[in-house]
């Protein structure tokens, strides 16, 4: 075990160097474990669909789950709230397929965002 001073600095002993190396390895292991833990935890919280997220934020389920995870409510789609009621008794009660803004979104997000490749 050698110990001394070089230009005002203390030389690290062999024992200290070994301890430092072991500490570094432990920190590396802890960080890798933490990354793994966060990955598995995210899989469980969001589900494989949310993690895969192949459609990016166009995937309504991924967005919905992400919003649920942070405790936020998905926004009410504007299409369902701003559509004017047809006037008069002769107006057709059934909407044509062309009138619809898009398929119903289970997440309540705007349908445009629910279609892959819409943007």
């Amino acid at each position: 075990m050698s110990e001394g001073l070089i230009e005002g600095h203390r030389v690290e002993t062999a024992d200290e160097a070994r301890a430092r190396k072991r500490r570094s390895v432990a920190i590396a292991v802890a960080l890798v474990a933490m990354v793994g833990l966060f990955y598995v935890g995210t899989l469980v919280k969001l589900g494989p669909e949310g993690v895969r997220n192949k459609d990016g934020f166009k995937n309504p389920n991924a967005v919905k789950k992400a919003l649920e995870m942070i405790g936020a409510r998905p926004a009410t789609p504007a299409a369902t709230t701003t559509q004017p009621k047809p006037a008069g008794p002769t107006a057709t009660p059934k909407a044509k397929p062309s009138d619809a803004a898009g398929p119903a979104s289970p997440s309540g997000l705007a349908p445009a965002t629910a279609q892959p490749g819409a943007n």
Binding site: H9, V11, E12, E16, A17, R22, V40, G41, V44
Partner: protein
């Protein structure tokens, strides 16, 4: 390869120098692994006794966070108490007084682990359990370690709340709230803490006296402490019967916990009637050891009965 480190300002003040030869084991010792084992166990019981099931992966994350949070508060306790730890026989071998880890390193280690454990619990489990974990750490560090420990003989009575939170955190991790059952589990540990620590303080009174920590035997004397131990033991055994009435434990729990409680009161009585001296130290040591077994037993009984009931439900 030779590396250089800055010299300590004062070579006699090893514990606060910038150099440290701490090994991984020293950092694990900072987490107080023995205390942590009791924390983990009671948190698991709180989680499994809850009526709402929790995903196994999230349960593991919650337990890990509770364990790390408890360990972090232990590290912060060792950082603050390094001066008195060095003078007490029981704590002189801790990493900071030995100079293996500097006080600053213990502080940083504790803060990083505290923040990480609370945030991870909030992110993956729920905010209620994370808030309780944060409260536990804050209570142990600020209320017990920094405020009460060196000021009042009631330090471990009030400070004992910090050790009583883990089953409540486990329950909150599963259900997202706090209910009567978790409060009862809290109360059991809360009432268990004074007889447990005062039994230790009885035969370590000189240590506490030397460093000026006003533990009950130092301030009020051994006889008053023995009476308090007996009274708290009776209250503990009474509260430990409550789970049998609120569905946390069944008949097996009631019978076994009553028998274990009778043993606790017998040992507390023996401490009370044994005159000062080595005989009394021996009685206090026996009570201290038995109190650890008792708490494990009471929570294990709850766990076994819940696991048994769940198994019967599955088989039926």
């Amino acid at each position: 390869m030779t590396t250089l480190s800055t010299p300590a300002a004062d070579t006699s003040d090893v514990a606060v120098s910038s150099t440290a030869r701490g090994d991984v084991g020293d950092y694990i010792a900072l987490l107080k692994p023995r205390v942590m084992s009791l924390v983990i166990f009671t948190a698991i019981v709180g989680m499994l006794a809850a009526p709402t099931p929790i995903h196994p992966v999230l349960a593991c994350i919650a337990i890990l966070c509770i364990a790390v949070g408890a360990g972090a508060s232990g590290a912060l306790n060792m950082w603050f108490d390094a001066d008195i730890d060095a003078q007490m026989q029981r704590t002189a071998a801790r990493p900071v007084p030995r100079g293996h880890v500097t006080a600053d390193q213990a502080l940083v280690f504790g803060v990083v682990l505290s923040v990480t454990s609370v945030m991870t619990l909030a992110l993956f489990v729920n905010w209620a359990s994370a808030a309780l974990l944060a409260l536990t750490i804050a209570f142990y560090v600020f209320i017990y370690t920094m405020w009460l420990k060196r000021r009042t003989a009631q330090n471990i009575v009030i400070g004992g709340a910090a050790g009583a939170f883990p089953p409540m955190i486990g329950w909150a991790a599963a259900t997202g709230n706090v209910s009567l059952e978790s409060v009862v589990m809290f109360a059991i540990i809360f009432l268990w803490t004074p007889p447990h620590f005062w039994a230790l303080a009885l035969y370590r009174a000189r240590d506490y006296e030397r460093v000026g920590v006003p533990m009950l035997p130092v301030v009020a004397g051994a006889q008053a402490t023995r009476l308090q131990i007996l009274l708290y033991s009776i209250a503990l055994v009474a509260v430990a019967a409550v789970p049998g009435f609120i569905g946390l434990g069944g008949i097996a729990y009631m019978v076994a916990s009553t028998l274990a409680g009778a043993g606790f009161i017998c040992l507390a009585w023996r401490v009370y009637v044994t005159p000062d001296g080595r005989e009394n130290d021996r009685a206090a040591k026996r009570l201290f050891g038995y109190s650890i077994f008792y708490l494990f037993a009471v929570f294990a009984l709850m766990l076994v009965e819940h696991a048994g009931a769940a198994l019967i439900k599955v088989l039926a």
